[in-house]
């Protein structure tokens, strides 16, 4: 059999690796800043662009999609070429994939601090960026499938299956969750409302963890761990079995993020059952990874790359054990809304994703540049300081989460809340927040050391941009005639045809079905629940813009400790006009669903100007710009029309008179403030925000007897 000579493209791998390092540094630095802001609120600097609610999404998006995302591409582009014994399908597509992804990241880095957000966690980017993500993702898939089709190795190694599952599922998740109605270039409303929005969002959110942070990394594990250990994987059969089990189970687990909320019970239970089952395939992967090192544990002592891998796989095992446990309703009742969850995801993020990436980079750089690693000592230092960082990060937060949750739930012998002031439960855990920042700083230090080490390695060698390889050809290529009709090209390829038509059908079906389905079901089930007034709607958009949901939930769970503290528990019917839902997932501050009418307007005014003036010791940032900036009411008619399209029953032609109502309500808020001795004018942003906060939860608060579900 004739062997063919070809070249692996290493340049694209290097580019993605550099991008991953750069955005890792940035994303983690922002992470450290938001961690410190919780201890020292002054670090919000009193300006919008650096305030917690805006840059916490910047941190999560940067580490997930920029650091890990580029890490995935680097690993996939390296291993796929070698596993398929061919160069990537198209260098042009590789380049578009690379630069497109970096431009998306840049757009995110600019738009998030500006407050341009959809208000849905891990899917905050606005609609133009969503479209760009879709396009670039398709380019990635095109390039990957092209490479697979022209492979010189008939068998698809298990890692490739993980990559395929990643591509397909992320595409579907992103499309479904990003279904939104644009108002203008910078603003859109989620097509779904309330409970439905929450379900779609966490179906997406959970599967983002599954198919962006887990399956691609398992693929990378199956390539780089055997390579680094120079051992075949412990059981290839197990790898196949756990792959198929994992992808069939993962997609049903999302509702475990919504336990005890207004989501129907059966959907919650479905999520729990699948989450518990997930432990089997997850641990299948973990065991397979660790046992690959059987017989070479002596090498683990010597080889820093293997050390990184061992900790990464162990962290994967721990967080996938913890996940099913947290999905049990009784555990979730304690852990949800607390720092326990933050600790849980960071064991996965810092341990599994971080350490696997670092191990991979330390393995890749000497091979890309044809030189030994610059310093093994520094790499060892990175390993130890990183491991310490994870411990210092996670342990205090577990402690903080459990402590705070127990304080929330504690009653006195007389049946009153022992800690009725929420703030008390926050100041209690501030020392743990401080320790967590130290953990984060240690971890970041390690990454800085790694950057130096890798750059030195790169500088000492020369990039082997095109690595020569040889392999026998697999099948003969079909000859292409020039100038033929493009459709002939597709007809010759039944697989592509099928995939393309499936995609088209999916998109077409979704566009047709989703609006009809959803608009109908948004008909209110509680008679007293009315659409937001124009001023409240504008205020709500400010609430979304400032990222209030990153610290405040709007979901009172049906526990006595919560109904005592906040009021009547939340009902599904109360959220039918919420595009997007703002239930939140973390209570750094108290729940706000029943905050309406709890405080006078003047309280909110002073509180937004300087939170500690109303609650001494508060760690909430101050929002002075809301008091100065003028509300943009030119968008009101467009917003009302959009809401009508989404099925919110404003009267016909209301968009034309909405601003009159808005002005009227704003004047009454100004009058309330004037009565309390505060002089302001009605066109400030704060007025709209106050109107929204005062409306929250009021529809059934003032009208309890109408509650039916």
């Amino acid at each position: 059999m004739q062997t063919e000579k070809f070249y692996y493209d290493n340049k694209i791998v290097r580019n993605f690796a550099y991008a991953s390092i750069l955005f890792g540094l940035i994303g983690m630095t922002v992470g450290l800043l938001v961690a410190l802001q919780l201890v020292f609120p002054q670090l919000n600097f009193g300006i919008p662009f650096t305030t917690y609610g805006r840059i916490r999404p910047l941190h999560t998006n940067a580490v997930i999609f920029a650091f890990v995302g580029n890490g995935i591409f680097a690993g996939v582009y390296y291993s796929l070429q070698r596993l398929c014994k061919t160069r990537m399908f198209s260098d042009t597509l590789s380049k578009i994939n690379f630069w497109g992804w970096q431009i998306i990241i840049l757009a995110a880095a600019v738009s998030l601090p500006l407050g341009l957000t959809t208000g849905k966690e891990y899917a905050e980017l606005e609609w133009p960026i969503d479209i760009a993500i879709t396009l670039i993702w398709v380019v990635f898939g095109w390039n990957m499938f092209g490479t697979i089709l022209k492979r010189r190795e008939r068998h698809l190694y298990v890692a490739i299956w993980f990559y395929i599952a990643t591509f397909v599922t992320v595409a579907v998740l992103h499309l479904v969750n990003s279904f939104e109605l644009p108002i203008n270039f910078f603003k859109s409303y989620s097509w779904y409302a309330g409970v439905q929005d929450a379900l779609v969002q966490w179906w997406y959110g959970h599967n983002a963890v599954a198919f962006f942070l887990t399956t691609p990394y398992l693929g990378l594990m199956y390539y780089f761990v055997p390579k680094a250990a120079n051992r075949p994987v412990y059981s290839y059969r197990l790898s196949i079995v756990h792959f198929w089990a994992l992808i069939f189970l993962y997609i049903w687990a999302g509702p475990h993020h919504l336990l005890y909320t207004s989501l129907p019970d059966w959907a919650q239970s479905l999520g729990v059952v699948f989450s518990v089952m997930l432990i089997a395939p997850s641990w299948g992967g973990m065991i397979n990874g660790l046992l690959t090192l059987r017989g070479v544990w002596d090498k683990v002592r010597e080889d820093v790359i293997l050390k990184f891998f061992v900790v990464a796989i162990t962290a994967y095992g721990m967080s996938t054990f913890e996940g099913p446990m947290l999905s049990l309703k009784n555990v979730n009742a304690i852990a949800h809304f607390t720092d326990w969850i933050v600790a849980h995801v960071h064991v996965g993020a810092l341990g599994w994703n971080g350490f696997l990436t670092f191990g991979m980079l330390y393995w890749l750089f000497p091979r890309l540049f044809g030189k030994e690693l610059y310093s093994k000592k520094l790499a060892n230092f990175h390993f130890w300081i990183g491991t310490l960082g994870i411990l210092f990060y996670a342990i205090p937060l577990y402690w903080a989460g459990i402590t705070q949750s127990l304080m929330w739930k504690e009653f006195t012998a007389d049946g009153f809340l022992k800690y009725p002031n929420f703030l008390e439960t926050v100041t209690q855990i501030l020392p743990m927040y401080a320790m967590r920042s130290i953990g984060g700083a240690l971890y970041l230090t390690g990454v800085i050391v790694m950057t130096y080490n890798l750059l030195k390695t790169a500088a000492s060698g020369k990039l082997i941009a095109n690595e020569e390889a040889e392999a026998p050809a697999l099948t003969k290529q079909v000859a292409v005639h020039k100038g033929e009709h493009w459709h002939r090209w597709i007809e010759r390829r039944p697989t592509q045809l099928m995939i393309l038509s499936l995609v088209v059908i999916l998109i077409g079906g979704a566009i047709e079905l989703i609006p009809t389905f959803l608009v109908k079901s948004n008909i209110p089930t509680i008679a007293s629940v009315k659409p937001y007034t124009p001023l409240e709607l504008q205020g709500r958009d400010l609430y979304v813009r400032e990222g209030c949901y990153t610290c405040h939930s709007q979901m009172v769970r049906p526990f006595r400790s919560e109904t005592e503290r906040y009021g009547e528990y939340s009902k599904a019917g109360e959220f039918v006009y919420d595009h997007p839902f703002q239930w939140g997932s973390k209570r750094t501050g108290p729940d706000l669903h029943r905050v309406g009418n709890k405080y006078p307007d003047s309280w909110h005014y002073n509180h937004m100007l300087e939170p500690s003036s109303m609650s001494p010791g508060s760690i909430m940032p101050s929002y002075p710009w809301l008091l100065d900036d003028e509300l943009d009411i030119s968008t009101t008619p467009a917003k009302i029309r959009a809401m009508q399209t989404l099925g919110v029953p404003y009267p016909e032609g209301y968009d034309q008179i909405a601003n009159k109502d808005l002005q009227h309500q704003a004047d009454s808020v100004v009058k309330n403030l004037a009565d309390a001795g505060i002089k302001t004018v009605s066109n400030k942003e704060i007025i709209a925000l106050i109107a929204y906060l005062q409306r929250l939860g009021m529809d059934i608060k003032s009208n309890k007897e109408v509650v039916t579900n």
């Binding site: 379900l199 390579k227 120079n230 290839y236 999916l506 959803l518």
Partner: protein
């Protein structure tokens, strides 16, 4: 809660797609040999050279 219908049907379509590819992969003999692939991936020409270099350095 009609969105459940959408989510479940989309999830089912994805699952069916995976099922199809699973059946394809079994039928086309992808899994007839569940040992060799794990060893084969370890052999890259350049890789061997580097490993040998490592040994020489020691």
């Amino acid at each position: 809660m009609s969105v459940l219908v959408i989510l479940i049907s989309i999830s089912l379509i994805v699952a069916l797609g995976f099922l199809t590819s699973f059946i394809w992969s079994v039928r086309s003999g992808q899994y007839d040999d569940d040992y060799t692939p794990s060893v084969r991936m370890l052999f890259d020409d350049k890789e061997q050279e580097l490993q040998n270099q490592d040994l020489k350095n020691k």
